[in-house]
């Protein structure tokens, strides 16, 4: 079978086709040249489990650019948004496309931590100016920190840690149970919460884990009902969070057991607007709150534009825009020297919708105000995340941890 090479005419057509395809996709790259508009690439999830979050993030960024007349530091901005499907492989492909074919000046976005970790080496190797809007695995500010990757967002530790402080101080020293989504983020949130809470002297009871994408929380809620805890620390996101909160109420646990969680559990746009009253009384620690003073104008504008109060992702898209604007303006639109951009961004804090945002020079991680939100009835009976406490300038332990 080996003495004849298996290339028939059909094969030739196929390979010629491949060649034609290549030159077609290569053509735009060749056309690239002069320094014209400022190209910003954004990779976010427009399909897959984070679709709604991705659409919010994109909307936030677009709102910001529209407010600035589509210009930053005098340069017209061209925003190219790509979909990563919340899949790391796809995310990497899209980052490479933005950098290798669209020749963008800045890449930004990313919701999933896995995508953020996956693209880390790609952008580092390309020395690309990168702004991670939401991916929040602790490692991104620690082992996987990178010189040109800026993180205008929280790490999971910041939220788990502050929740541990708050719970010990205000909710009780014992009678704590945890329940979380059994994947990387859930493990980090719950682990950091438990570490801090225990460090303070608190005692943690039973810890439950639910697989990602759990449809029926009934069995776990019955277990909780039997355990009768004082309060629960929990981390779920997206549809898992919606189902968890609704089923909590179905099983009459909502009023009885105090619930505190990571910001995503009570995300204003993604979760609270879906579960409505079932969220009332819930607590969460988050770097974003629609009622934070720094967010007042943005919340109003977002509500006017999208008919819903902003959650973390919509805000993150906007804040990413704000940080990019600060960086670009501080170097008068000249991004050629990346060291200079970095210096300028680290030099002083950026005023953002999240709150004042200085960057940690060790890992380019934002140092953030973390809000403790309680879901209360707002105007018109709509449940809203109300700030009841602010932990000022929370800083991730960083590379040493």
């Amino acid at each position: 079978m080996t003495e004849r090479f298996p290339l028939s005419r059909r094969d030739f057509i196929a390979s010629a086709g491949a060649a034609a395809l290549t030159s077609a996709i290569a053509a735009p790259a060749l056309a690239q040249s002069a320094n014209k508009p400022l190209k910003i690439g954004m990779v976010t999830s427009l399909s897959g489990p984070f679709t709604a979050l991705g659409e919010s993030m994109r909307a936030g960024m677009q709102m910001f650019l529209a407010e600035n007349g589509g210009k930053l530091a005098g340069r017209a901005v061209e925003l190219i948004v790509e979909d990563d499907q919340a899949k790391p492989d796809e995310g990497v492909r899209k980052f490479r496309k933005l950098l290798g074919q669209d020749n963008v000046d800045i890449v930004s976005g990313v919701i999933s931590s896995a995508v953020a970790l996956a693209v880390r080496d790609v952008v580092t190797e390309a020395k690309a100016l990168t702004f991670i809007s939401a991916g929040s695995a602790n490692d991104l500010a620690r082992k996987a920190a990178s010189p040109f990757v800026f993180r205008p967002t929280k790490t999971n530790w910041m939220l788990g840690h502050t929740a541990g402080l708050w719970a010990y101080e205000k909710l009780g020293k014992t009678g704590c149970m945890t329940i979380g989504a059994d994947y990387a983020a859930g493990r980090e949130y719950i682990g950091d919460f438990v570490a801090t809470y225990q460090q303070q002297g608190g005692k943690v009871g039973k810890q439950l884990w639910a697989p990602l994408g759990t449809t029926d929380f009934g069995p776990l809620l019955t277990t909780i009902a039997a355990e009768k805890p004082e309060f629960i620390y929990s981390f779920f996101a997206g549809s898992d969070a919606v189902r968890f909160l609704r089923q909590m109420r179905e099983y009459r646990l909502s009023g009885k057991v105090k619930l505190i969680g990571g910001g995503a559990l009570f995300d204003q746009e993604d979760v609270v607007s879906a579960v409505k009253e079932a969220a009332l009384g819930g607590l969460n620690t988050c770097n974003q709150s629609p009622t934070a003073p720094s967010s007042a104008a943005f919340t109003k504008a977002y509500q006017a534009a999208r008919n819903v109060m902003p959650g973390e992702m919509g805000t993150a898209g906007y804040v990413t825009g704000q940080v990019i604007k600060a960086a670009v303006e501080r170097v008068q639109g000249d991004l050629s020297n990346k060291e200079k951009v970095k210096e300028a961004l680290l030099a002083r804090e950026v005023e953002t919708v999240f709150g004042p945002m200085p960057f940690d020079p060790r890992n380019n991680q934002a140092i953030l105000d973390i809000y403790v939100n309680e879901i209360k009835e707002g105007a018109g009976g709509v449940p809203v995340n109300q700030v009841i406490h602010t932990y000022k300038a929370v800083r991730d332990p960083g590379p040493v941890a």
Partner: protein
């Protein structure tokens, strides 16, 4: 005691949910020998219809017939084109066609209903809980158990105990024979598919109360339903019921005892079942050769 009683009810209600989703799939597979992977889309469509209906303020109980009609209509149109051309094709081609269609519908529904997670307003009458030896159990889940059992019984009765069921089953084995009786087999097939799609819709409207509605739910539900129907054994109604109960109880009690490994345990049980019984729980008795 109360704990295990409620956990058993949990398992039963989840089994019913699985059964409801599996039933529609099972009906087309059993009666028409057609694999319909768009069933998850019917489910999601029903879920969205239910959510919007319950929010509209119209009488709540109408949500279920409306979801049935909406999904049934979708099924009717699909039956006309392109399902009809694929009845005689291999299962593989049917799988490919309907999976492709489900990808299209997933995107169309995301377009139409948005990507947000939507949860229905459960009607006041179904919101309460009952306490079983001090343990709460939601009335809505009792409603699902009752509704599911009634629907399953009705279906079993029609298919196994009435002339209609016999005619439909005869259609699959010998179309020509049924046609000589003066019956239009094409209409019969259309009717079966509409009922199957409607069942998908109605279970979606019911299930949304627990699962909510969002892009991607169609696929999650489809996978569970497929496992239930295939592991039950093709061509049997009893098998689908048994396997829904098995999977429901396996998933629930693995969550009770080993929540971290619940998916693996439940999947392993289904895998072991198929290894031991390669033709499913209840295999059609066919003589070889």
């Amino acid at each position: 005691m109360g704990f295990y009683a409620v956990q058993s009810l949990n398992a039963l209600s989840f089994s019913m949910l699985l059964l409801l989703t599996g039933l529609g799939l099972s009906v087309v597979l059993n009666l028409m020998n057609f694999v319909n992977l768009t069933h998850g889309s019917f489910f999601l469509l029903g879920a969205y219809v239910g959510v919007y209906w319950l929010a509209s303020g119209a009488p709540w109980w109408l949500a279920f017939p409306v979801a049935f009609v909406a999904a049934g209509l979708a099924g009717f149109l699909l039956e006309r084109f392109p399902f009809r051309q694929f009845y005689a094709r291999t299962h593989l081609m049917q799988v490919l066609l309907t999976y492709g269609l489900s990808v299209i519908f997933a995107d169309l529904m995301r377009w139409g209903f948005g990507a947000q997670i939507l949860s229905p307003e459960i009607p006041e009458a179904l919101r309460g809980v009952v306490f079983i030896m001090d343990m709460p159990f939601p009335i809505y889940r009792l409603f699902i158990i009752g509704f599911g059992a009634a629907l399953a019984f009705a279906l079993w009765f029609v298919i196994d105990r009435t002339i209609w069921g016999a005619v439909v089953r005869a259609c699959v084995t010998d179309r020509g024979f049924v046609e000589t009786l003066g019956l239009d087999t094409r209409r019969i097939f259309t009717a079966v598919l509409v009922i199957s799609a409607g069942l998908g819709g109605i279970s979606g409207a019911l299930g949304a109360g627990i699962l909510s509605a969002y892009p991607g739910l169609d696929e999650e539900v489809l996978i569970l339903a497929l496992i239930v129907v295939v592991a039950g054994g093709l061509g049997t109604f009893r098998g689908t019921v048994l396997s829904a109960l098995l999977l429901g109880f396996a998933m629930t009690f693995s969550k009770v005892w080993v929540p971290e490994f619940s998916n693996v345990v439940a999947l392993a049980i289904m895998a072991a079942l198929l290894v031991a019984l390669p033709e499913g729980l209840v295999a059609k008795k066919v003589r070889q050769v």
